[in-house]
Symmetry: none
DNA sequence: TATGAATGAGCTTTCATTCAT
DNA sequence: CATGAATGAAAGCTCATTCAT
């Protein structure tokens, strides 16, 4: 009994904190930093504005933790990615699909990154956990490129970081700029078929880029 | 009193209006819609907040005009692009360089597009001049693809819009996300040499994508 | 007509500003800095909280101006003091009465000084107008002491600053601490007769202090 | 379990309470009532805000106890004062020095009195222990004046309460207003030499006031 | 005895906007 | 054409205090 009580209490606190963090993630992603409203965060978290300050001290503090959590989630997902057993070309496609699908399934991540870039990554650089947040996937990609090269299916001289940026670009821009693109191109980019076509073409582009 | 006075006044008025529009473009691009401050716009335009309302009626009205002007500038630039005389592969590279250089030289355009996408292109779609703003370059690209195909240097089955999105992706994302990328990749993407390397690799990617 | 309009307008602004300053003087004096409430200041000034920030930018800015104005008023009063024509002993008594009466008639000045001392005179020292606020009366008192000494009615070796502090002490403390003193001594110090008795005794003390 | 545990606990509780009271004394003295922060008190007492309420019920309750304790300390010190054996003039000087030194050594007492006077001694008058807090020194001073008069060294007609107020004024004002005075007079009043000079002059003033 | 979690009310300040001439 | 004065609404944040165990 006595052992449970503090656990329950702590879990309530943790739950409240987590609800606020989740609500804030959505709010910051959709509205940007200045556009985000404490009241909306509190409501969506079924808590009060006061609790936001109780747990996160300030709007900026909350934002920073939201950002760190978003990167941490991405890193977690990246760590779960297993492509070692696949044939190099398949592995590369799997990698692309993983990245693109992550973006598609995490629109809030895209919103946060846009916001953070608007701020010139000021908060990200200040983050004490920055080193933990550095992506392990560039290394993964480097190893894959080497493996493919040894297997004679990839050409040499490709910078893994550059390849990563290219893959990210193709997945990210389509989603992040879908609204202006849809208006300007006169088609609805968010339709599933459109997205799949885009991924197909992008896959082809990456494939051709690395092939001998 | 004479005929000159109103002209001079008109010219001053136009100049003031133009200064406000320019200042607002920077402010909205850097700070987003909610983050933009009327006071800063007025100061940067060497005018007063009151004048901003005098000429543009509301923050949203000002923003819409800023957005329209930004797209109009892009269209102007696009219309000046001449690639008909070039050999198809050279023409495609020239096209890419044009797009990428435009992004690099107009960071405020990137800022505005990010802002507008955050708002799901609400203002863009409301814009009465939307049809004027629709890009002519997809058509241009379609013609080029056909020409290249006929010349036997490009493969068939490429969607011009998709190609345009790919080219835009590779140029835009690198710049728009340079701050978080620099932090996460541990290199300074804004260095000129880095940018040139990126454009080289991106050019190679586009080349390989369309070649037979 | 046209000459009057700006005057009227400016006068309104000045009047609003002045009302706010007066209201704030009372509020800060009575409640101290932390205890002062913007809302009460606005109400007493028949204006709005918003206008307080329009004219004074911040609570601290308002406080500083209140403090400067209070010192400026004292200096104005001091400059109007004429004791040169009086016989030295009479002049000294006139001086004392002037200081003491000023304190009695300006309880807000005492409140402000207490507040400012609680803050270790931080705002006063920051004031750009500090030099203007330095008291001219110590010089006045020095001249008087010399004159009295030459006339053979005052003794030598008296520091004018010390004399000033003594005179101020006797007038200030009685008023500033009247509430606790009344409670502890069991008599009502604010009664006019009590005050007059105190001034009589204090006058006698100063007289004896400087006399040969 | 044994009889020691509750004793120890009680002792810890008393110690915590005492630490809070001490911390609160400093906080209220320095910051005034409105300016005082529960959080700072808790920190300085190495306790928690919750404990402050546990022991003192409310901010006002805490303040009242702080005030009562401060007066009680003064009365304790006053009761230890022995001047009966001294020659009247020496006794008076000893009395002055005692009062002035007490002020100098208890800046928190000055801060509290200023705060309480700002509140028009509301809390002090409400205090149930007010009668205990009434100063015994006026009586002491009355006896001394009579003794000196009988001995032919003091003049008659001096109100002991008035003398007490004068002595207190000269010691209190110098310290309580030292910051604004230092700024306005252009000298550093808190320097030890300055203080001693002030006490010398003040001693002379009191001596001359009572002497025949 | 002790304490982490929670909160309502209210504070200072900011923002986009309008009034009045 | 131009502008200083004014403002309602709401934002972020703080404060003293209570709940629940």
């Amino acid at each position: 009994m006595s052992g449970l009580a503090p656990t329950r209490r702590r879990r309530d606190a943790d739950a409240t904190r987590a609800r606020i963090l989740r609500a804030a993630t959505l709010e910051f992603a959709r509205m940007g930093f200045s556009g985000a409203r404490g009241e909306r965060i509190a409501q969506r978290a079924r808590s009060s504005e006061r609790m936001v300050y109780y747990y996160f001290a300030s709007k900026e503090g909350l934002y920073r933790q939201v950002l760190e959590a978003a990167y941490a989630s991405l890193r977690d997902a990246e760590r779960s990615l297993r492509i070692d057993a696949l044939e190099p070309r398949d592995a590369l496609q799997a990698f692309c699909r993983f990245v693109w699908r992550y973006y598609a399934q995490h629109p809030e991540f895209i919103g946060l990154l846009n916001t953070e870039n608007q701020h010139q990554a000021r908060h990200l650089r200040k983050s004490a956990r920055l080193d933990e947040l550095v992506s392990p996937v560039v290394g993964l990609l480097g190893a894959l490129l080497e493996r493919g090269q040894r297997a004679g299916v990839f050409r040499g001289g490709i910078d893994p970081a550059e390849l990563y940026v290219a893959i990210a670009s193709l997945g990210y821009f389509y989603l992040s700029n879908q609204h202006t693109l849809s208006a300007v191109l006169g088609r609805d980019l968010k339709a599933a078929a459109q997205l799949e076509r885009h991924w197909q073409a992008s896959g082809e582009m990456i494939r051709r880029f690395v092939s001998r």
